[in-house]
Subunit: 370 residues, 2 copies
């Protein structure tokens, strides 16, 4: 009995995810879907290896992977039939589908390379398999956008790890150390707190570097009175967190203090007003309109936020040109920013989950700038 | 004058790399090549951002990237004209090529997704640009396979960082700690020694886990008398190193000691005998034949090695089914292994460079198993 209890939390979500995916597959009049995007693959199967293909139809759930991962796959993906691949697609793929009776096989068009698509087609042709490859997008990503309770638990844990590490690092981020030293201090704390490999390279951007939304830590020594943007995240059971704070180290000057207040106001307003059912562009407008009214519209050059889950950037995207609307169960960042070339910048980022129509803030890190 | 001296080492290789690439482009009767694979992009331009396209013709060298990276790109890629992209390909790409007079544009077929290829075609069609997209592979990768002196310096530095960290970690990898703790100790040492973000997740695989060539560190406590495979690497100026050692912690038993000696003999023999001009498959045979003769042929389930540079896995590939031959200037791993399900395994990996026809070993870490 013990075994069953241990395994159930793994198996239940997989069965439910496959059930939902099969509805999407049928709606698109496909017979099966080929999944190779790593996070999609993990989401559907539990498989964490770096290479493999899922083949999912009404009746089948197959995981094809190479010799390195066959053994681990049996443990991670009990709901899947494990097939060992050969080096060349032509040597294993046609055999898997030749007797299926399928006519249309979907593949992930924004992940599969031009070359792999070509090789899949060639492999089937060479074995006289008559199966049409149909480009699809977002079939799995749209499922991933709505988090299950277990996923939310993992994300919450990842958020806490980042909160704790940031609080500990805060005292160390002071004039006199370099951006790289500060970033490494943060990473060490994250890992010591229990984070898996961090989901993205930590940003510590000081002074004029803080004007670059995606700066990398440099050997620049952080100076007094400078803005420092910290953008960091943890990972727990594969799930990510994402946290940005801006510190103003001492008297940073009127402009920076002003934009700090504007960004904070835009951020808290967006969190208060964002709602399930709202278009993603509308959500972006909540913050953007405040920044525009303050005269800094041109200096907010990125979207308001993005979904976070197994990937640190996933659905939904909240920006000026986004499509789709928000829904309960979505987890995303709210992170407006203002960037002034040569002077610096401010970004403040929390993670939220939509529940009962409104945003509940997951992030706990303090938002004062000192 | 000082500025020129600082910038020259950056500019010289870029000019020479572009010169060589332009020869390849002309040989394939292309008018230009679109490069988006991150390491290829960095190699050709110096650009380290996470998104961007290079467009290289006889006369042009353009780097198109989004608002986040326009400023950094100007500093990193002085040989390139920097163009700011819009969100949709259709909004910026056709304009770049519409007056070019080009007929054939190569793209990286094993990197560009089916969807991006489709969108590039659509974007041009919508603007009545008559430019054929031609799939290419390996145009830049084949240049990257032969290292320049400066690249070899960076790789040598990355190798040294791994050597030093391994030597320091050696004492800590003892029965009683978990694989994860050991891996984190190694990573901490690598970073403290000056490695950039490590190029791959460090492997510490103990006991039966050592039978999995690509095991991930687990919470398993390393026991006495067990084999422990450590596979780790550092990064310096973007260039990677890759080092594997196997420790036998105490009396590991006759079989493991026997396979240790076989793997070591296969590895040192391959290093002694590998030559420029040799087929990559022949190089693999050098080690594989020894392991086969010892009766463990089936237990060496991967190739002998792989090139290392800006990517930790790049050209050349040395395996049973590889194509191409080895040449002076190539840097690659020599890493035979034997894996026995349930019992454990052994892998020993050095990095070498081919010079004057023979392999010079870059790795300095000791190869004794204790």
């Amino acid at each position: 009995m013990k075994n069953r209890i241990v395994e159930e939390p793994k198996r239940r979500p997989v069965a439910e995810r496959l059930r939902k995916l099969r509805i999407s597959i049928a709606e698109r009049e496909l017979d099966a879907l080929l999944v190779s995007q790593p996070e999609n693959r993990r989401y559907l199967s539990g498989f964490t290896g770096s290479a493999g293909w899922l083949l999912i139809s009404e009746k089948n759930a197959i995981l094809a992977t190479d010799f390195r991962y066959v053994e681990p796959a049996r443990g991670e993906s009990p709901a899947f039939e494990i097939v060992r691949t050969a080096r060349e697609l032509g040597d294993w793929f046609p055999g898997l589908v030749s007797d299926s009776g399928w006519h249309k096989l979907g593949f992930e068009a924004n992940f599969v390379s031009y070359d792999s698509h070509h090789k899949l087609g060639e492999a089937m042709e060479s074995k006289k398999v008559d199966l049409e490859l149909v480009p699809t997008t977002n079939l799995v990503e749209q499922l991933r956008a709505i988090k299950e309770p277990e996923e939310l638990d993992f994300i919450t844990e990842a958020v806490k790890l980042a909160d704790v590490a940031f609080e500990q690092a805060r005292a160390a981020i002071r004039p006199g150390i370099t951006e790289k030293e500060a970033a490494w201090t943060i990473e060490r704390l994250l890992r010591q707190e229990g984070s898996e490999t961090v989901p993205f390279e930590i940003i510590v951007a000081s002074g004029p570097n803080a004007a670059l939304p995606h700066a990398r830590p440099t050997d620049r020594i952080i100076g007094p009175g400078e803005p420092v943007i910290i953008d960091m995240g943890a990972r727990f059971n594969g799930y990510c967190s994402d946290l940005s704070r801006t510190l103003l180290l001492g008297k940073a000057g009127n402009t920076l203090e002003e934009i700090y207040d504007i960004v904070l106001s835009a951020q808290t307003t967006a969190i208060e007003r964002v709602e399930s059912g709202m278009d993603a562009t509308q959500a972006d407008r909540l913050a953007r309109s405040i920044i525009e009214q303050a005269g800094y519209g041109d200096a907010f050059g990125h979207g308001l936020g993005h979904g976070v889950g197994l990937a640190v950037h996933e659905s939904p995207t909240l920006g000026p040109g986004s499509s789709g609307s928000l829904a309960d169960g979505m987890v995303f960042t709210v992170e407006p920013g203002i960037y002034l070339t040569g002077q610096g910048g401010v970004r403040i980022e929390d993670m939220v989950v939509l529940e009962n129509g409104r945003a509940r803030v997951l992030t706990g890190a303090r938002k004062d700038s000192s």
